[in-house]
């Protein structure tokens, strides 16, 4: 037994040492007096190469380190100057001329229009460079730099979203020598945004320092550290202990765990995400051939509408999202974007009404059998649908329980299938092996991207390659509206067209929006003294981390690190360590008992 204790304590020491290593990251005598902000992330950085990166965390770091042609205005979210000081369009809307700002890369070389031209041309001509932002240049005819300060972009068709271009401009003199398909930017190539990356360790952290030559002026904060956590519980524990200063994109239970600490601010504002059900309404590939094994009843718009009436969205907000969401009476664009948000009213508005759902199904000829389950009008198949959700997501699990209960009331059997995320993406995005699935999308200020996920062209190819469809939707009215809004350069008229598209999705119900989860973040006010969200200046609104511009990280201010006082507690996440040790003790104890029992049994036998 003493031997066991010795081993156990050795293990404990080992865990503590691991913890100390992480603390050392934050504790460094040279840092005294510096303003350092540490941001926690549950996502690790996939790549610091903007041509390759697709994750949100990487996109955020791009917004903190690079200039873009234009950037959303922190107050209005409308395009405002960044790398381009000003711009103009030709009469036909096909030629855009940008005047490039005088600025310096962090290695001292000047920023020119040639850098921008090279960046766009690289993505247009090299397939390896398309992973990050390929679709953004699809409509580009040519990009040329007529001199150091002038960039000319010609498009194939008018493009209303030109000024929301998501591509960071990289320095030509550094990147033209690299193979963009394999380069991971691990040597921190020069940038020109508010911060400059100077140190990184894969799957652990990225450190950025303030750029003194940034065109708006040097940021208040000297250093920004992005620290990666394996799971949200550990990250919130780290915030409570002071290992990190800010964490965004939290789920309701973790956000609620931040309550009760006077130093922690609970940031709860409308989110940019819409959560919806995706319904297999008869999925087809891009050559209009049926694909997958969706239930035939779901091809009937009546059935889909009946399902819509059988969902109590307000109840779901309270029970599944702990009240931290807004019930959806619209479609895929959340109310945060006032200009483009559409809401159903009057006759069209679907409210929770089981009697009405039953009536729709009765009238459409789906008769209830003796077991209470409806059958198709031809009597061949019962209305038994599968509901695909992800594994390890308690909220989706709870959602499934509620849907199962309500659908049972209208004579529809729902069984839940839990799939790991790769399989889920495949079955709901390309092979269409589902009936109903959970889905969602984080929407940008310009909703073009999310609207495009419901186009015919986004359906999978006949060979089964996914095109990024969110619904397998292919509808004439929707396609026409999409083409019209592309060309409509008047913002108000374009918004009207975009609302019509949302109405199309709401009425035909290939997707049924459930709720818009709030943007939930936590930060330490004893460290971060001021921070402004985007959009700025609207009380009760705005996002700190994960927003569409780097404004919050640029404009924030923090307390300087006091000499040898930061990182008060020892080690990362004492709670986690205690938990691990406890688990080890329990397992070891169990194992010991088992071993002993086995031993006595064996002795008995021989």
């Amino acid at each position: 037994m003493t031997k066991w204790l010795a081993r156990l304590s050795a293990l404990g020491v080992a865990f503590l040492l691991v913890g100390q290593g992480q603390t050392a990251l934050a504790q460094n005598p040279q840092q005294a007096g510096k303003k350092i902000v540490r941001i926690g992330s549950i996502q690790s950085v996939d790549s610091l190469n903007p041509f390759k990166a697709v994750r949100l965390i990487s996109g955020q770091i791009q917004r903190w380190t690079y200039m873009f042609l234009t950037t959303p205005d922190p107050k209005t979210l409308e395009p405002s100057p960044d790398l381009a000081e000003s711009w103009s369009t030709s009469e036909d809307g096909l030629t855009w001329t940008f005047k490039i700002r005088e600025a310096k890369w962090s290695d001292g070389k000047p920023v020119t229009a040639h850098d921008a031209a090279w960046t766009f041309n690289k993505i247009m001509t090299d397939d390896a460079a398309k992973a990050g932002n390929g679709p953004a240049v699809e409509n580009f005819e040519s990009v040329t730099a007529t001199d150091d300060r002038t960039l000319v972009i010609k498009t194939k068709a008018p493009q209303a979203s030109m000024l929301d271009n998501p591509i960071p401009i990289v320095p030509k003199h550094v990147w033209e020598t690299k193979d963009v398909g394999t380069y991971e930017a691990e040597d921190n190539p020069p940038t020109n945004g508010p911060y400059i990356p100077f140190e990184q360790k894969k799957d652990q952290y990225v450190k950025l320092k303030a750029n003194p030559n940034y065109w708006r002026g040097e940021p208040n904060v000297h250093e920004l550290q992005v620290i990666f956590y394996e799971n949200p519980e550990a990250a919130v524990a780290g915030l409570k202990k002071g290992d990190i200063d800010l964490i965004g994109r939290l789920a309701a239970p973790q956000w609620e765990a931040g309550a009760g600490d006077p130093n922690i601010v609970q940031w709860n504002t409308p989110g940019r995400r819409a959560a919806y059900l995706q319904i297999n309404h008869g999925a087809t590939t891009s050559d209009d051939k049926p694909v997958g094994d969706g239930h035939p009843a779901l091809k009937d718009v009546k059935v889909r509408q009946a399902l819509h009436y059988a969902i109590d969205k307000q109840k779901l907000v309270e029970e599944v999202q702990n009240g931290l969401a807004v019930a959806a009476n619209g479609s895929i664009v959340p109310p945060m974007y006032k200009d483009f948000f559409w809401e159903a009213t009057g006759e069209e508005k679907v409210t929770f009404d089981l009697a009405k759902a039953n009536q729709i199904l009765d009238e459409a000829g789906y008769k209830k059998g003796p077991d209470g389950v409806r059958t198709m009008p031809d009597g061949k198949r019962k209305l038994e649908f599968r509901f695909s959700i992800h594994t390890d997501t308690p909220t989706e699990d709870k959602l499934a329980q509620f849907l199962t209960g309500w659908f049972k009331e209208i004579g529809i059997t729902l069984t839940t299938r839990k799939l790991d995320s790769n399989k889920f993406t495949e079955e709901t995005g390309s092979t269409a092996l589902f009936d109903i699935a959970i889905s969602g999308w984080s929407v940008n200020p310009d909703p073009e991207e999310v609207l495009a996920t419901h186009l015919c062209s986004r359906r999978p190819t006949p060979t089964g390659e996914g095109g990024g469809t969110e619904s397998f939707w292919c509808n004439k009215e929707y396609e026409d509206l999409y083409q019209q809004q592309l060309k409509e350069l008047d913002r108000a008229k374009r918004a009207e067209l975009i609302k019509q598209m949302q109405r199309n999705l709401y009425v035909n119900a290939p997707v049924i929006a459930i709720y818009y989860p709030n943007n939930l973040e936590l930060y330490r006010k004893d460290r971060i003294t001021s921070i402004t969200p985007v959009p700025e200046g609207r009380p009760g609104e705005g996002i700190l981390y994960g927003g569409v511009s780097g404004w919050p990280m640029y404009s924030m201010d923090a307390k300087p690190v006091e000499a040898a006082s930061s990182a008060a507690g020892g080690g990362a996440n004492t709670g986690v360590i205690i938990g691990v040790i406890a688990a080890v003790v329990v397992l070891a104890g169990g194992g010991l008992l088992l071993a002993r029992r086995r031993k006595t049994a064996a002795e008995d036998r021989e």
């Binding site: 239970p253 029970e319 594994t391 308690p394 709870k398 209960g405 309500w406 839990k418 790991d420 036998r605």
Partner: protein
């Protein structure tokens, strides 16, 4: 002839019961099991499955035990007592069925490997060894993830990951039985493989199979709870699923002990009961263990 056989069997059963009843722990285990099985079978008669429907939940969220809800409520206001009663059906069903599946595979492979020597045995034993060294929990998790949720999936996943130990055990016993002279005699009289395996070997390994199955049910119930806790559940309320729910919805931080303890106690009690019964059966059926049990 049959009458004589029946008298003999009845007498053997009486002898068995007399010896079993002397194993006090075994009797306690058997009583717990009978209670659990009766509860599982009687639940549909006394309770409506609607109490598991979140849309019809009447209670407060995470309410402590009261007269209306003797074991309190869960995160959606459902009765924990009702969930445990309905959950016992799923937990016991999966426990029994996967133990049965595992025993069938294990017995068939074990007897075949013990009876046919040479390359058949070698191949079967290498497959067995492969399953033996494979981390069965991980394999079961992967299997249930690939096959998708559902009771039969979980039964299959547990069943085909836990038969290897049994196969080894049965093979050893088969070798011992086949070494006896009467097997040689029946071979000389022209008995075929099937006759020897089904008429002579199987009845002799059957007691071992019975005792082992009982122990296997215990570990299958634990496996089911573990899988459910890790998220691979059958889609129906089970004890492991309840534990998972208490973890997911922060019952511990809210001090809702009534959500954590009852399913845990049920698992421990039933697993303990199966183990006690299994040990007692082993002691009764194996004359060498009889003395010191």
């Amino acid at each position: 002839m049959t009458a004589i056989a029946w008298t003999r069997r009845r007498r053997a059963l009486g002898r068995f019961w007399e010896q079993y009843s002397r194993q006090r722990a075994g009797v306690v285990g058997a009583v717990i099991l009978v209670v659990a099985v009766v509860v599982a079978l009687a639940t549909p008669l006394v309770s409506d499955p609607d109490i598991m429907d979140v849309t019809k939940a009447t209670g407060e969220k995470m309410a402590p035990p009261s007269l209306e809800f003797p074991l309190g409520t869960d995160e959606s206001g459902r009765s924990i007592l009702g969930m445990i009663m309905w959950g016992s059906r799923v937990s016991l069903l999966i426990g029994f069925m996967s133990a049965l599946l595992s025993m069938v595979i294990g017995t068939v492979v074990g007897i075949a490997a013990g009876h046919f020597r040479g390359w058949v045995s070698a191949v079967l034993m290498r497959i067995t060894d492969w399953f033996l060294v494979l981390p069965s929990l991980v394999l079961a998790l992967v299997l249930s993830a690939i096959l998708g949720g559902g009771t039969s999936t979980i039964i299959l996943a547990i069943g085909i990951t836990s038969w290897a130990g049994t196969a080894r055990l049965i093979r050893a016993q088969t070798l011992a039985v086949e070494a006896r002279p009467y097997i040689e005699r029946s071979k000389a009289l022209g008995a075929g493989h099937w006759h020897i395996m089904s008429r002579h070997v199987l009845p002799n390994v059957a007691p071992l199979v019975l005792a082992n199955t009982t122990l296997q049910v215990a570990s299958a119930i634990v496996a089911e709870s573990t899988l459910a806790f890790l998220g691979a559940d059958s889609g129906q309320a089970s004890w492991g699923g309840l534990l998972r729910g208490s973890y997911d919805w922060g019952a511990a931080t809210k001090g809702a002990w009534w959500y954590i303890l009852p399913p845990g106690v049920c698992i421990v009690a039933v697993v303990l009961a199966f183990t006690l019964v299994g040990r007692a059966l082993e002691a009764v059926l194996n004359p060498r263990l009889r003395g010191n049990a």
